[in-house]
Subunit: 330 residues, 2 copies
DNA sequence: CTGTTAGCGCGTTCAT
DNA sequence: ATGAACGCGCTAACAG
């Protein structure tokens, strides 16, 4: 593949002039510039961005580390990141950690070695990986999940408030034994949504026995198993709040399999919009998150931090919205 | 950030020795190797893979260019690519073209400039972009969609056969006016699935009037509109074969909105598994594709081509499977 | 087995 | 406004 020297030779100028024409910084004689552009076209020249990155000591790559590419929540988010990133001249490397801290660590290592311009991460728990990036001076933005004990730009949603609204809504519709299927203990989102649930119960004078709470894995299977376990308990619930989209699907599947009517025998509210929800009857009440916006915001924050590395970290919290549909009204 | 010279100085060896220890090619005196490893740890040294790539004239990045990150078909595929790629030492850059040839062209340019080690592409129609890659000597694998007029490694599924099975199945269950909602004319998958549909009709002695065929956009909205258009026609169908997953969802939504019973008034079969299908009653009959395997196979092929650039291109066709469920039996 | 040297392709001084 | 020379960090070739 042609190099800048080949172009220079063909255009009878120096490589420096070619570089100037291509990057449009300094002024170049129009005649020479035209010769250069012709030579570029003739040789089908593409600048080598590896050499460029080495010379400039910076790349145009962002890593987005998420825990599940199969979850529409994350793909919507990635789409938001990508749209903003591409506009700012960055390519996005999608890294799927599968909720596995070891895999996440490998991606962080790769981001470090590739000298990525920035990282957006929805971390699977511990702050160690994020700290490695910060120590190396790599711009980072935490998205969706909070990093405890580390000051870092973050884009979150009002998890506690959303969960509280969802639970209060169930209480307002006469449900009394409201269960909660939340996520892994280590994840901030799971903890915050559980807290919102508990606060709503307290505010409505309802008991919040531990036997109505399940910690699952934020996946469909986990939601199914948790729902089954709640139903098999001594005193089953009459409503359930599931703390993410896939677990909501699992829980509903379990109810359908057992022929338990929604919303009559059991009311259901899920956190985050559910894939395929439109096909399901009754339609599902959910706490909607601005997923695409989440990605856009994180990308914007990352671009700003790259431009201004020393400014203090900021946290942006986006609002959720309760979408009342049929699954929660009896 | 520390360089290989910093490490060499601290370990009192030459940079070349550090390189040898890190890459494990040549043999190095155990004592020196230990000193190097200590220095690496002390300085928290990370090799600069930009410099390495420049020196070696090759990178460890693959681009996967797909048309819709929001479609579970593509995310499953990407997951397969990524799993194989990571094992072979490659990171995967996910590029979402949104079915837009211009956006696809930009990603191809980026892949070229970044000297990516390889590209896996589900191209949105024309072969021009793929040809640019081939001319530049970049290893390419076409996935899901065939590239016409260009010899290139390809991983496809037996679209025509799958569509034929689906349509024949509807005919066998007594449906007589079977419609087809297929994709954009330019896409090989759309054309092949349409041909399979037509062949099955012919084999079963059924007419195949053009008024029963719709070309939509492979998205939910398109499926919905196409279904509506079929229902509003003079002589509506009693069954429909939808040529991809999202259009199936759209078509079913349309039927639900209009209160048209499935499978009694209209039988439904979709190509590719449908997101959220498990929640839907009646359950949907589909032509299942080995999506994850598709990705794995393409990645394997790409790795092989990188190792052996001059071997003749091969095409691998994976099998689909008809999953008979409730939506097609009356 | 180890060190010295050169160069991957580019952008950026510094002269002119 | 243009060109010559250097070096980003690394690894491969060669010498010792």
């Amino acid at each position: 593949m042609a190099t800048i020297y080949d172009v220079a030779q063909r255009a009878r100028v120096s490589p420096a002039t070619v570089s100037r024409v291509l990057n449009g910084q300094a002024t170049v004689d129009p005649g020479l510039a035209a010769r250069v552009r012709t030579a570029v076209r003739d040789l089908n020249y593409r600048p080598n961005s590896v050499a460029r990155s080495l010379r400039r000591s910076r790349t145009t790559l962002w890593a987005v580390i998420i825990s599940d590419v199969g979850n529409p929540f994350f793909t919507a988010l990635v789409r938001g990141v990508e749209d903003v990133g591409q506009r700012a001249g960055y390519s996005v490397v999608l890294c799927n950690s599968d909720e596995d801290p070891a895999k996440e660590a490998r991606y962080v290592t790769a981001a470090l070695e590739d000298r990525m311009a920035g990282v957006i991460i929805s971390s699977s728990g511990r702050s160690a990986n994020v700290n490695r990036l910060i120590e190396a001076g790599t711009p980072v933005v935490a998205i969706d999940r909070q990093i405890s004990g580390t000051r870092v730009d973050s884009v979150l949603v009002d998890n506690e408030h959303g969960a509280e609204l969802a639970t209060a809504h169930l209480a307002a519709h006469g449900y009394r034994r409201i269960a909660c299927i939340t996520g892994p203990r280590k994840l901030s989102t799971a903890a915050q949504r559980l807290r919102g649930y508990q606060r709503a119960l307290a505010a409505n004078g309802l008991a919040a026995p531990a036997c109505l709470v399940r910690h699952a894995d934020f996946r469909e299977e986990g939601g199914y198993a948790a729902m089954a376990s709640l139903l098999d308990a001594a005193d089953p619930p009459d409503a359930v709040f599931a703390a993410n989209n896939l677990m909501t699907v699992g829980a509903v599947e379990c109810l359908v399999d057992r022929g338990i009517g929604i919303p009559d025998r059991i009311g259901v509210v899920g956190f985050d919009e559910v894939p395929g929800a439109r096909l399901f009857r009754p339609s599902l009440t959910t706490v909607a998150q601005p997923t695409y916006e989440l990605g856009r915001t994180a990308a914007t924050l990352l671009a700003e931090r790259i431009a201004e590395p020393d400014r203090p970290p900021s946290t942006i919290t986006l609002r959720t919205e309760l979408k009342v549909r049929e699954s929660s009204r009896r």
